[in-house]
Symmetry: C2
Subunit: 604 residues, 2 copies
């Protein structure tokens, strides 16, 4: 089943050849690793995914997680995958040695978990969130907290979650009301409700460690009064035994997709006996959580990119096997005596497949780019390097969260369409990918939130320095591509689109300057779409530059067709996707204001 759900060759090509994982290995943190060992790690996760994830993909959809007797009943594979993710070192991979980790580059880990996402997106969230929760403890927690929780979490024996959302607040974290009351001991009393908690409970794990945002009594209003707490489902006593910590599983949300990945409603301190331990400083909770949030947002993009990959592989296989219809002959008719064509021979089906390939592989490159930036920031050897890549990462974060989620859903939609009526039937997995991927544009900050982050915070941070750095990176690829006769036309187009983006910002910025932020941000979603296309155009041009260099090379790593397919897909992207920037720019620069509320309500 080598390419059934993931194209491992393309994954390694993008990680090794395009984003040059090997260059990272010179850094001190990664000195014990070489390409062979990392390649082995990735292959072992592929083997693990073939064996323990992919076979349960449809089954976990058919038997969703549900609430029963105060817990959540999940598929037994959840626990198996948690424990084996611990054993294989997947949860601990990127942690420091001193915290029990393996100091594997974040990028290599993302590539590995991408395979798991593609195999069965209902499962990797459990170990991933556990990893994220453990990371918060190691990064900001006291030694006692580290000693108490981290090793059990990295081994997959205990699960972990992030508890942000509350029923009355939704995306507006400044409105959270979960309360932390100081006590005479080292803990606080926690009371409140949290909803949409992924991996919030299950019948197997002996413990789940919740990282909870709450407000210490008397804290300032808004996001500046939020603190972070470790709140275990069961609190470890001194003798090592566990005692129930008054964390109640109130319900499990039933969802349209990703039904095997539970989404719980938790109640803390119903009996006034829920203890929480402060992580880091008081009132700094949101900032700490947000440091980890970059990883979580890359993870959502990664998951969406992987689902779209699996859907593409499935629809491609179908298109290569299903005969239907015939080519038109020169008189515009079809000859019914001729053999039927395979549907992959029809231009419209090819368009749908190439659109998927462009989105899927482009998204993968975007995820690996963000991961590389994350690695460089974490291991930077100078202040300049750290600042540069930090700003580049901040620019890319909202895009890596959003593009694979939005375009990925469109990609799966096209994959479903390739199968015709069968795409809508539950015997085929396309409809499941279609349902599963839809959550990506919602969780960890909706597309609207990400778009406001991009235009409202990232474009303006450090007086536009991040945007400038990103433009410089793009220009470098444009300059290289300009020297190639076949590529220079595409390079010129991308240069124009980059310039046009500056014109768009030039049109919008005065609104911000004049304090009209509502107007400045009103079309942030369109700006997100615009910038995503520019970034993806860049990544495809970068891939084409490399492919051009290798395709005629006698000792090239992959087949001639492999490299040619990358160049071909770049051309597709520039023909069908890049032109969309024109209409987006037209809408963005229009003086017609129709989405800002005035005295009358026309939306009826």
């Amino acid at each position: 089943m080598s390419k059934k759900y993931v194209d491992l060759e393309t994954l390694k090509y993008i990680l090794y050849d395009i984003h040059k994982l090997e260059d990272l290995l010179t850094r001190e943190r990664f000195q014990d690793h070489d390409m062979e060992s990392l390649n082995l790690f990735i292959d072992s996760v592929k083997e693990f995914s073939d064996r323990e994830l992919y076979p349960y993909f449809q089954e976990m959809d058919a038997t969703p997680a549900y609430h029963k007797d105060g817990t959540v009943i999940v598929h037994e594979q959840v626990y198996k995958v948690m424990l084996q993710s611990g054993e294989l070192g997947i949860i601990a991979a990127a942690f420091d040695y001193e915290d029990g980790g393996l100091q594997i580059p974040f990028s290599a880990l993302q590539a590995a978990v991408y395979i798991m996402d593609a195999a069965n997106n209902h499962l990797p969230g459990y170990p991933s969130l556990t990893q994220g929760a453990a990371e918060l403890i190691t990064e900001f927690g006291s030694q006692v907290l580290k000693d108490t929780y981290v090793s059990k979490m990295l081994s997959g024996v205990w699960g972990g979650t992030m508890c942000l959302t509350e029923p009355q607040a939704g995306s507006s974290l400044s409105d959270i009301v979960t309360r932390a009351t100081p006590t005479a001991n080292d803990f606080y009393k926690i009371t409140g409700q949290k909803i949409f908690i992924s991996g919030g409970d299950n019948q197997f794990s002996e413990n789940i460690i919740h990282l909870v945002l709450a407000r210490i009594e008397g804290a300032p209003k808004g996001t500046k009064g939020i603190s972070l707490f470790v709140v275990p489902k069961n609190r470890p006593k001194e003798d090592g035994s566990l005692e129930y910590n008054d964390v109640m599983t109130v319900a499990d949300f039933q969802k349209m997709g990703q039904r095997g990945y539970c989404t719980t409603h938790l109640g803390f301190g119903d009996k006034d006996d829920c203890r929480g331990w402060l992580v880091g400083e008081e009132h700094k909770g949101l900032a700490q959580m947000f440091l980890m949030m970059n990883g979580a947002r890359i993870a959502v993009g990664r998951g969406a990119a992987a689902i779209a990959m699996a859907a593409y592989r499935t629809s491609l296989q179908y298109a290569n096997e299903r005969p239907q219809g015939r080519k038109l002959s020169a008189d515009g008719k079809k000859n019914p005596s001729e053999k039927q064509s395979l549907i992959i021979e029809h231009p419209d089906v090819r368009r749908m497949l190439l659109l998927q390939k462009a989105i899927v592989e482009g998204s993968l490159s975007l995820v690996m780019l963000a991961s590389k930036y994350q690695d460089i920031v974490a291991t930077a050897t100078s202040k300049e390097e750290k600042e540069k890549y930090h700003l580049l990462l901040e620019m890319i974060i909202p895009i890596v969260k959003t593009y694979p989620s939005e375009a990925g859903a469109e990609s799966v939609d096209n994959g479903l369409q390739v199968l015709g009526g069968y795409g809508f039937c539950t015997d085929f997995t396309l409809q499941q990918y279609y349902r599963d991927i839809r959550i990506s544009a919602l969780y960890e900050g909706t597309t609207g939130i990400q778009s406001q982050d991009l235009l409202g915070r990232k474009v303006t941070m450090h007086n536009g320095k991040g945007l400038e750095l990103l433009a410089t990176e793009i220009m470098q690829t444009i300059m290289v591509a300009s020297k190639d006769d076949e590529l220079k036309g595409y390079a010129a187009i991308l240069g124009d689109k980059l310039k046009l983006s500056q014109k768009v910002i030039g049109k919008l910025m005065p609104f911000a300057m004049k304090g009209n932020y509502e107007r400045y941000l009103s079309d942030a979603n369109l700006f997100m779409e615009y910038m995503s296309i520019v970034v993806l155009g860049w990544l495809w041009l970068e891939m084409a530059v490399d492919a051009k260099k290798e395709v005629g090379n006698a000792d090239r790593k992959y087949s001639e067709t492999f490299y040619e397919s990358k160049i071909h897909t770049m051309k597709f992207y520039f023909k069908y996707e890049v032109p969309k920037t024109n209409s987006l720019a037209e809408s963005l620069m229009s003086d017609e204001v129709v989405t800002i509320k005035n005295d009358k309500e026309y939306i009826i």
Copy 2:
């Protein structure tokens, strides 16, 4: 629950005021009807939908139709709605008096069934398909066939289906192999398999009448050798009793959405005892079926438009009730001490709502336009009138099938997003609309098939006469709008887009002339998108022209806000949707060819 799932005011506005139903009533066929009686008919269907359809919408999704003991078990509401649709005259509404019908205009019937679709899209297909099957019999069948079947079908006691698709042929009808063997009697022996048969069986109906495409032995290959047969599940004997006709229900396809509307696999003549009666002439089956197909395609567009309407109403209600976040103040910050805003106050939410409103009400106008054309063709008093409106109808058919299906799905997608995480949860209906509407782009000819029909057949028919007539209609609205100071700018834009469409066709046509049909049609889907935006832009401009006329009118029918909201939504459509034509035109006119297969396969 007046606007819970449908905005009846807008429906009537579009049917009565925009498309001027009253003008049709002067025609002889409709002379017994007046606006009051038709209004009453529509209101009675609304009341019926409130009572018998809407309350079962979620329940029918939760308990899908399934195959058991050789039949399909459907929700009991299926049978109730069938019988009451018979009693209320919904099935018979548009039939001739002599066939037991009421001669109600097709447009008025579509408006009524639209309400049913919006209330619960799992149900109206059963009576609608029965009506379509009965129509084929009355139109082409012998008197004996009419006498035997039609009245039982129009009363909803017997169901009806259309059986086209076969497992090996899919959309390629020239490859169907179901066989009809002549006998010494008045019937043929039928053998074969049909799949994706909507409403193919249920445990309640005493009979289901299948209209089956099959090939008489020795018939020519391809679509010219296909004939049409009536094949009842149970054949009526002379004494009126029924005898099993060897039509086997093999399976029921389980689907992602529209789960209460069964989709069956039927086997004919497994025991060599399946009788079919020829309808109309030998080998003319496909042409006859396609005469009825226009109605079926309008019905798909109508259903999709209605689902999008229901989703819009639901998300609008949520946006008006859910507080979350705050407006940005002049320093770009939010003040957490302020009361939370309702989400309808955020520009991005307003954009998603207005996009829905533009697609939903625009689609409704498109469905009513096609229905009006259908009425005019059916009652034309001159050859010229008949030909003109026949060509206009033919032009609009692929668009009315496709635009509400594709843009409608996008509309529902935005509705789901308005609800944030709740949109993905099964407690809310948005996710169900999201799943349900997705079938619309697949059945009765996929979007790919419709697009090839539009560019390949409709644009070129009668030397482009249909396109010319459509352009003339659009120009008339442009001319009227040009006289209004507020509207003339939009009119000019639409005129430009119309011109640009001619340029696009001018670029493509030479490929067809040179016999390169594959290249001519390779981007037919983009052309469909282009023309859909032009047609919708026209319909919105038309609505704005009327609203401008009425808004200051003291004795106007609806509120000032009602009319203003139409003008506002037109402006939204021109700001956000119309510009997309530019990028579509750019892709369509590009000389880069990447979707036509050559010697090498790059899609890997």
